[in-house]
Amino acid sequence: MSSLAGIQAVMKKDMRVYYLKGPVLIFGLFFPACLFCAFVIGRHMPAHELVPGLIAMALFFTASATTPAIMPFEMRTHTLERLLIAPLSISSMLIGDVAAAFLYGLFMSIVPILISVFVIGAPIVHPFILIVTVVLGAVCFAVLGTLFAVPVTDVPSDVMMISNLVRLPMIFFSGVFIPIGQISVWGRGLSAISPLTYCTELIRYSTIGGNFLSPALCLAVLAGFTVALWLLSTTLHHRNMSRRLAL
């Protein structure tokens, strides 16, 4: 109960300070839309084939976008210590960050889903699986965002560079633009280590079909990634916290 109040306080703080800003909201829609257009325009391919990729990409880029910058930003502005002196564990603080990123990712992914259905005309064949995938995917990518925040620095651009170095290549081998059933064997091997692959496959199954991996496997692996990333992230954050304060 006590942790829940603290988690809620951190989540509300994150929403106010980092998410409910015009540029952040616009970025969440604009960036995936640009990448989508870059692949669709001039390729004479049906737009609905890219629907799973569009939804997965929007979810991935929004849920993991801002969390990496929060820790260094709060070190720089000397607000981190304000949180650490409160009766709030480091894990609760991170859950609050994840909850805010989750809500942002969830909200921002609704827009491409609506565009996919009402503008592009893509079908929703398995709505329940789609909802479960979007929720689980938002949690997984939000947790991934906290992992990018592990390096001890008070320069947000340092972690954003690391975050983008990992996230941008991921969209090219996770079945976002080309279904993993159509990519080379070595590309498929690479896609196995990306949680985005399983999210995209589940959305493909829920919408246009043609998925390469079974939905049950994808759900299990995505949940497994979420747990593993969380354990790694909290362990590293606990280890690094005193170094952060010494900076």
């Binding site: 106010r16 607000t79 650490l84 002196i85 409160a86 709030l88 010494a246």
Partner: protein
Amino acid sequence: MTEVIRVDTLTKRYDGNLAVAGISFSVRAGEIFGFLGPNGAGKTTTQRMLTGVLKPTSGTVQVLDHDMVRDPLGAKEHLGVVPEMANPYMEMSGWENMMLAAELYRVPRAERTGRAESLLREFELWERRDDRARAYSKGMKQRLMLCMALVHQPDILLLDEATSGLDVASSRQIRARARDFAADGGTVFYTTHNIEEADQLCDRVAIINHGEIVAIDAPEALRATFAESQSVVVAFDREVAPDELAALAEVKRVAKEGDKLQLYTADPGLVALHVADFAREHDTAILTINTVGPSLEEVFVRLTEGAISQEDEDQ
């Protein structure tokens, strides 16, 4: 008297460097306890271990019945902290910052707004409550931090350089609140490098140097430790060379302080009589004459420089 903070052989090492070297002390309920030391002495590291922000390498911190390492959340609930290196959220208003603090410390929903309003009014921030904290002056931000530290009605208030760099009015307000807090039964742990402030405010002070506690006592008792630092300060109607007065009996040394001469002695009453005789013999008038006890600053400087001579110790 009940001890509300108990520190036992507290040690902190950073990458092999000893920042705090096994210090032990306790703070009693209702007192204002000053924690003094030069820059880099280990004050902030100690404060951070007391507030649970840093884990000690060894040793214990007990806050009331809670061990800070084993039960940090229980211990932290009793503390209201204004850290030296911390800020309110600049993108949030004063009111939103207060609500954040109230939520973090689980102040009941029904009491949050009433307490926040009362504190913001007390610290003259009520009219600016909807402004973002970034628009506040340094003094206003620090007063807001104090409001945030008090909103959950803690038993112990820890202030780390709370008045450093503030205007006189804000500094006075913060000191006055610390006094009122202690008068109402609370305990204040006041970390500062401002010795005059500690002297005015604190019931007891601990002086830390190179990570070790070198003295703990009431300011008056610490001054008494250095009785030979008493002095007679005199101003004449004409210039008198310090050497002329240095020859007087019981005078240990003479320092020129502006238009006055300060004669250090263990017996200021006798030296004052000698000065009066000197003035009569040399046909000069005394404009002012005062006896002065050793300042806490002198005590601090001598303790932290390790300049206590064997002669001092004998006395």
